[in-house]
Amino acid sequence: MSIISLLGALPGSIAQGIIWGIMALGVYITYKVLDLADLTVDGSLCTGGAVAAMLIVNGMNPLLSLLFAFIAGMAAGFITGFIHTKMGIPAILAGILTQLALYSINMRIMGRATQALSVDEYNLIVSLRYINKSILIGLIFAVVIILVSYWFFGTELGSSIRATGSNLNMSRAQGINTDRTKIIGLVLSNGLVALAGGLYAMFQGNADINMGRGAIVIGLAAVIIGEVIFGKIFRNFALKLASIVIGSVIYYVVIAIVIQLGLSTTDLKLFSAVIVAVALSIPYLKNRYFSKGGSKNA
């Protein structure tokens, strides 16, 4: 492998990692805070990209288009939340249903499978062409989102969402409308995912119907990598969120390395799935390892 070409690829990986890190913050809200596995994200990421791309090519300011991407993602999250809580469909299935439906909707939004977004034509706020600027903009987005999340999950409403994920029975006994808190969590989560989708469409120069495929796996990878590496040192909620974005960057740097090592891009999905399977099993394996060590010492 060539160190030079790897170093050349790194800034791009970092920018990509930050954008997907924002997506992973959304995944964190459902997977960790609410304790729900939400598969809507594979669809809502593309919804965000599609909405932003179509608005931009129709003349909207790219920054403003992200607001609409965010809102579109929130709508998708609402649908999942609604069919889960009000129609009694298990969360994982509700997410799969919405994700499937979103394929058609995303096609409707774009009218085709790929919508190009040329950085020459539009004043995109992030782009592969300007990687340093993209890293900076991505970081600003990430920091603002982390600070707002830190505030929100410290409020009465945010605390009730955390309580819902921690103990459903207790939450109801304390008068928390758990259907509502779950819906709000899913809405915010998918809003962030779609926002990241909008950013990513600009970054890669197109919105593509398949851009969200496997997004949940990447989100989980970022959450888990962040947790495994920083879980012990970062106790503060804002730092935990930051560790997810760092986890996402690490993930993309590792991907860049394995590509330099000769892995083909079509093998990446397999590689990602393996990484996540390994990362997900680490807490379990660690537990076993430590409990054995403990009983030996005792």
Partner: protein, 263 residues
């Protein structure tokens, strides 16, 4: 305070697993009543409390709390009236959140949850005092995650949470059953203290006959979804554990009185 009129509940109705857990139960509690509930496994004690709490809808009958019909209110809406402590210490608290955060959640029971900060500065002082009263040393561990505490400590906190906003009715479902005898005694002592201090109307399920006699001013015995014995006042105070066992055998036609003596 609580008025239950002819409620019935059949689980898995229409299947071979159909189980009539409550059969035309009526019960009226006056303000300040402290009622202990005994009965064998599967008698319907928990089902009665859960019906009142709105965990499920009843098949027939009416439930009124403080003059309000609550039949159609969902569980979280009824929570406004109720303080609840469960048998499993894991059930009453959010393990991943701090002691202070758990109390703050309970402090807002029955109120709308807004975008104001989750714990106001003045609350810390209040919680500190309340924790100090428990006498478990928890006042110096306010930000400790509840998941790190023992079962007894968690039940004591759940009791605080159930009564932080004065409930119209306190529902205790074998809340000391999972604790060792010493801790159970401590939690019962705290229960008694809080109930007396706030004059709470209380329903307490227990498998401990002696506790059922010692605590409260009224005792009811359940069997197969019905209340088969209801005693209060002086008559209740004078009861012996053997009396209750006799009563059970006599009224239920069931000689297996050991089923009553689980603890």
């Amino acid at each position: 305070m609580l008025e239950v009129r002819g409620i019935s509940k059949t689980f898995n109705a229409g299947t071979i697993n159909a189980k009539k857990a409550l059969d035309q139960v009526s019960l009226t509690l006056n303000e300040g009543d402290f009622v202990t509930v005994i009965g064998g496994n599967g008698a319907g004690k928990s089902t009665l409390l859960n019906a009142v709490a709105g965990v499920f809808n009843v098949d027939e009958g009416q439930i009124m709390i403080d003059g309000v019909e609550v039949n159609r209110l969902s569980e979280h809406k009824r929570a406004k009236f109720l303080g609840r402590v469960f048998q499993d210490p894991m059930n009453g608290t959010a393990a991943t959140m701090g002691i202070d955060e758990n109390l703050a959640l309970a402090y807002r029971r029955g109120k709308s949850r807004t975008l104001r900060w989750g714990i106001q500065a003045k609350e810390h002082k209040l919680y500190r005092e309340m924790l100090k009263e428990l006498g478990l040393g928890l006042e110096d561990r306010m930000t400790t995650r509840v998941g790190l505490l023992s079962g007894g400590q968690r039940q004591a906190i759940t009791l605080l949470m159930a009564t932080l906003q004065r409930p119209k009715l306190l529902l205790l479902d074998e809340h000391t059953a999972a604790l060792d005898p010493k801790t159970a005694a401590k939690v019962l002592e705290i229960t008694q203290k809080i109930v007396e201090r706030d004059h709470l109307t209380t329903l307490m399920i227990t498998h401990n006959m002696a506790n059922a006699i010692e605590y409260g001013n009224r005792l009811i015995m359940m069997h197969e979804g019905k209340i088969i014995f209801d005693v209060s006042g002086e008559e209740k105070k004078g009861l012996q554990v053997e009396d209750l066992l006799h009563k059970f055998t006599e009224l239920s036609g069931d000689s297996a009185s050991d089923r009553m003596l689980l603890s």
